[in-house]
Symmetry: C2
Subunit: 372 residues, 2 copies
Amino acid sequence: MKGRQTSIHVDAAQVGYDILIGSGGLDDPASFLRANSAASVAVVVTNDTLAPMYGRRVARSLTSAGWRVETVSLPDGEAYKVWSSVQLILDAMVALRCDRDSMVVALGGGVVGDIAGFAAACFMRGVRHTQVPTSLLAQVDSSVGGKTGINHPQGKNLIGAIHPPCRVVIDLEVLSTLPEREFAAGLAEIIKYGAACDPGFLDWIEANLEGLRKRSTPVLLEAVRRACEIKARIVAVDERELGLRAILNFGHTFAHAIETGLGHGQWLHGEAVGCGMLLAADLSSRMGRIDADLVRRLETIVHAAGLPVHSPPLGIPRYLDLMGMDKKRQGGQIRFVLLDGPGRSSVAAVDLSWVVASLEARVVAGRGATDL
Amino acid sequence: MKGRQTSIHVDAAQVGYDILIGSGGLDDPASFLRANSAASVAVVVTNDTLAPMYGRRVARSLTSAGWRVETVSLPDGEAYKVWSSVQLILDAMVALRCDRDSMVVALGGGVVGDIAGFAAACFMRGVRHTQVPTSLLAQVDSSVGGKTGINHPQGKNLIGAIHPPCRVVIDLEVLSTLPEREFAAGLAEIIKYGAACDPGFLDWIEANLEGLRKRSTPVLLEAVRRACEIKARIVAVDERELGLRAILNFGHTFAHAIETGLGHGQWLHGEAVGCGMLLAADLSSRMGRIDADLVRRLETIVHAAGLPVHSPPLGIPRYLDLMGMDKKRQGGQIRFVLLDGPGRSSVAAVDLSWVVASLEARVVAGRGATDL
């Protein structure tokens, strides 16, 4: 890599790994683990949009690192996050006579990372994978922590594995070509780390929103580094999300309802997370856990990041239904990640009435389907 | 359970688990983990042959242990060890609104155990599974150690996960109905533990072959207990088969060649392992690692267990091809588990010429396709 760069070590339950963050990582053979032998195969999994942009560059770096390189390109889109894509990768690996020494390289956003990571988890009961995230969202969230998987027709990420990567290569230069909307969606997850986990980072984000939106490299380096450090710290303690890791779902219960309710692909995940965080903050305030000031402060930040702040008009019964809050569920409560202050959060069961009040306050009534 | 019983604790890399061995475990609610709540779902995965024999009994025990029980029955046979079977289980789990609190119960032989265990590994990135092995082979081998998976058209067990069970319930009573051939095939794996791992156990097997073949319960209890203890000890050290665990593949390189060469289903896995162990012992003797006496001793034991001792006439070039010993492979050598003495083994690279000599000595020339 060139210029300022940084590296974070993640202690995973299985084997630790390094996250390299900087500029030019894609083109630097030293970013990647070296092949054990001339026969070692690296299978680059990417999609048809990204392959022409970065495929050859990553393949060249891997070749210099000693790998025999082959590429599998999937169609672009969440619709392909299904078993047939995993099977395509596995078939290619079998045809290439891959063995336990082989490595999968996921070159893409969260969808490619999840599919390729799951294929690596399944092939011969687990081979190594390197994550090369090309979206801001994937750089600060899905590429770190070992969650891999595919969707089931009845639910996102229902099928998968915890299979930590052997390396994460974050090249900030790829962010320069991201569409505005997608970049802002990535900022939502960065804001999440500040809001739910780290008051100092929340202050820093607030002070650096200008630099973030201008995609200043030093500012992005700092933001991505701190976000990854927070995630690495949490994952080291709770890789399987038995407790602490759940706070990384701050805003996500509402967000999933928005995404599913609008139909996947209408709003980007990060856009839904932005609104979801504000709903969860409102809920925390109503329950007396935080001041209303903090809700307003977060709303200002989310808005300044270029994200929607009002949730789409799906109708409150539909929201409740999408969050599984029907009377058939045991106890009639649902567990949310709530704020206890700036940068502090915990999980608690919440009564339906509070949720209804927050939805009434923050959901747009009867305007168009989106609010961008 | 009733009568003599025993329990072994396995230290797995993730979370340890107990293997209960005795008579009547299927009908004893105490064999199974208790449900956390009245909503907790246990999905019993079995096959169409075993469901009428044991399905209702296991379901009754689970119900008494507090579970809401549902059953998924797959067609019987290795041909169904494919993704569509896993998908059938996952679809059922989604339809039943299973969550992380749910448990899969694999009621069957190795095929059911592998498929059901893999479904448990994939659902929501891993839920618990209990193994209830109904064949001797599964009781002493596949149900312990966490290997799960399915076949790829180009190779057995190419797709899978290491996902240890939360409990193994071994009911020796189910062995009374096993066909003679299948029972003998299970003995092959028991002999393997003695031959490759434990000289005292090899002596014991030799002294108790009569009781084993008569399926005497106290003799079986001792045999299964010692086999599971050996496996548990090895798996605790090397769950992912990075080193030591490989010795459990004693005889298996030849065995896989026999199975694939004859077409899967012609010989039972254990039958092929019996012959494979004798080939590997012959190889060890030729290389000066053991006396020829030990080869003869093992041949006597394998024969007395009711297993074939002469390998089927596939032709030596075909054997070599099936074991991947072609000139395209790096180095022209292949790694085998070899004996260093009774109950002692290690992995070593072997030259083609030794393998050819052993095949010439032990493969039947030009008789029928099988030698049973």
